[in-house]
Symmetry: C2
Subunit: 365 residues, 2 copies
């Protein structure tokens, strides 16, 4: 790990991300939200969605004025249980943070609430917003669509986003249950890693331009040729279920909010509003049964899963979110890991923008 990562103090990274965002015109309060979402991703070991995107996604789009640094989001309409937002083509994190916060407020009174958001951009890790519910001891759900990267079953081009499903469920003593999964087999970044290493893809991750499953990562590219396969992969393994889930997420995000969908959702490099859309939901557990009973049941469920017999050669059964909580524990103590080539990029872009990246990495044996 030491070869590839440098480790930084969380506060240092946070402050840098803050200054960086502010330099690009993002108000301080908004920049704090973005910085927290990004660094939380790195802390949880989801480095594909962390500080790596500070420049490559958000900085780049902000600098080119493809999105609005002020994130002038608006609540278009609301009821006791629902919210419809326009994200103002700003930072997805900022409107999403507000949408989930208001969902939780509404759920305190009305027990359930849903917010749909249109005209937004990438919002970082879906799980962040679902996990906001944990502080209120509620169940949180967070969905988003994305630029087209995934082919429908029997298709040969990318139509659907990787459309993640995230749900966070509070527990008693165990880690909370936090599922945060793309509805494709793997994200496009995973294909890139195989390409860079010159490795063959597992059969069922991606298709080529003819719609045939390919093991050649060069044939599975963002924007084509080829496309990712939905969870399940090939037909006989029921890839149409992953396709169905991806379509479900696309509907709940884009159709409830009135946003673009499928190939209408913009890629980050495109000089236009991406019109990404999101869906958030909060469930107040107390409306169904005493919270303490619920949380103890979640603990028992987790224990039962973990205690169940292991496959030969395996010594542990994981719970959704467990690895990420373990990562967070370790990384909070030892420093937030950032890929060395991401650090290089931060240094280069920081210099160009007059926001030098001069953080000292933490020594670690």
């Amino acid at each position: 790990m030491e070869d590839v990562f440098l480790r930084f103090k969380k506060e240092d990274l946070f402050d840098y991300a803050l200054i960086y965002m502010e330099k690009l015109g993002v108000p301080e309060a908004d920049a704090k939200i973005v910085a927290d979402v990004l660094i939380e991703a790195d802390i949880r070991g989801v480095d594909s969605h962390g500080i790596i995107r500070l420049y490559s996604y958000y900085g780049n789009r902000l600098e080119k004025k493809y999105m609005d640094p002020l994130t002038p989001f608006k609540v278009i309409s609301e009821t006791d249980t629902t919210l419809l937002y326009d994200g103002g083509n700003g930072l997805g994190h900022v409107v999403s943070y507000d949408a989930m916060k208001k969902c939780l407020q509404k759920a305190e009174k009305s027990n359930i609430a849903i917010a749909a958001v249109r005209n937004s951009n990438h919002y970082g890790i879906a799980g962040y917003y679902a996990m906001m519910a944990l502080e209120k001891d509620m169940i949180g759900i967070s969905l988003t669509n994305s630029q087209p990267l995934v082919a429908p079953t029997y298709g040969r081009t990318a139509v659907l986003g990787t459309n993640p499903i995230a749900i966070a469920v509070p527990s008693y003593n165990e880690y909370p249950f936090v599922l945060d999964m793309a509805t494709s087999v793997v994200p496009i970044g995973r294909i890139k890693v195989f390409e860079q290493k010159g490795q063959k893809l597992p059969f069922g991750w991606g298709i080529d331009d003819d719609g045939n499953v390919t093991e050649d990562p060069k044939k599975v590219q963002s924007g084509g040729p080829g496309a990712l396969m939905p969870l399940g992969g090939i037909d006989i393994m029921r890839g149409y279920k992953g396709y169905g889930l991806a379509a479900m997420v696309e509907i709940l995000c884009s159709a409830l909010s009135g946003a673009s969908y499928f190939t209408g959702v913009g890629f980050p490099h495109e000089p236009k509003a991406c019109d990404v859309s999101h869906f958030f939901m909060a469930i107040n557990i107390n409306a169904f049964r005493p919270l303490i009973d619920f949380k103890k049941q979640i603990d028992d469920m987790i224990k039962l899963l973990k205690a169940s017999p292991k496959a030969k050669g395996q010594d542990k059964i994981y719970i959704a979110g467990e690895k990420e909580f373990d990562n967070a524990k370790y990384n909070k103590q030892h420093g937030v890991p950032v890929l060395k080539n991401v650090v290089k990029e931060l240094v280069a872009n920081g210099k160009r923008l007059g926001i030098p990246f001069e953080l000292k990495s933490i020594y670690e044996k």
Copy 2:
């Protein structure tokens, strides 16, 4: 198809199911619900969940007094947006029908509603209750747990149910979007079919008693040995996502309602309450945007998916539920197909119970 199926008039089958249920002590109004759910499954081509279960599941449990024919369900608590039911260890269909109906009523006023049901039994096809929302032009969601049949990733025994996710979304001119999928790769019945045909299983459908993937259907049995694999299958194909989804369904059903979970859920043959639990939800689209706009967008989304380029050798991209709607159209015209050996079983059990099954099958060329 003519070799395997006999076709019956929908009304004839319905009437028989009704008489059958009533003979076993089920009140007429309840029997009508059960009959409708079962026959709807056959009509939609989901024969694993149709009239095949009239005796094998429901009749058998009723006859042996393992469940209560009166389905004395109760609303334990409710708010403007939530309902908690005790299913009274009766017919899952009966309490579920009521729960979804009340969800839809609440959603008319409160825009969103959720019902959690404990102490129930198998409720038939999950999609039936989700589709009840279509009549009200709402989005319907239906989840249930089941007896343990699926191993968690790295486990070697069945802990989770096949825990389906069903969602129904109204459209304008196109078929509605109706996803109804088990969160395992395949249901246990599919393994049985391979066993009966003496065929090898595709790699990734099931594991043996050691937790190794097996192609031998005899090693993947309900109640063990072996277990089904969650959607995705093996680790490299991200089977842990299917496992995560199955756990999510188990939580939303059992933990919200305070029911049994995982290996605590009973098998249909067990002389006790199964304590199956369900989760229903209704979303009132009008709370977000004009219904007509939403429905037209769903049509456009469906058209875009269907018009997207096909993989080599494929000429059609399907939408979730499309095949089932096509089946229903055909079967309503040509008669409801029932497997010949199911007919034999109906005849045998009908004779024993004094409810002779003497329906004439429809001639079909």
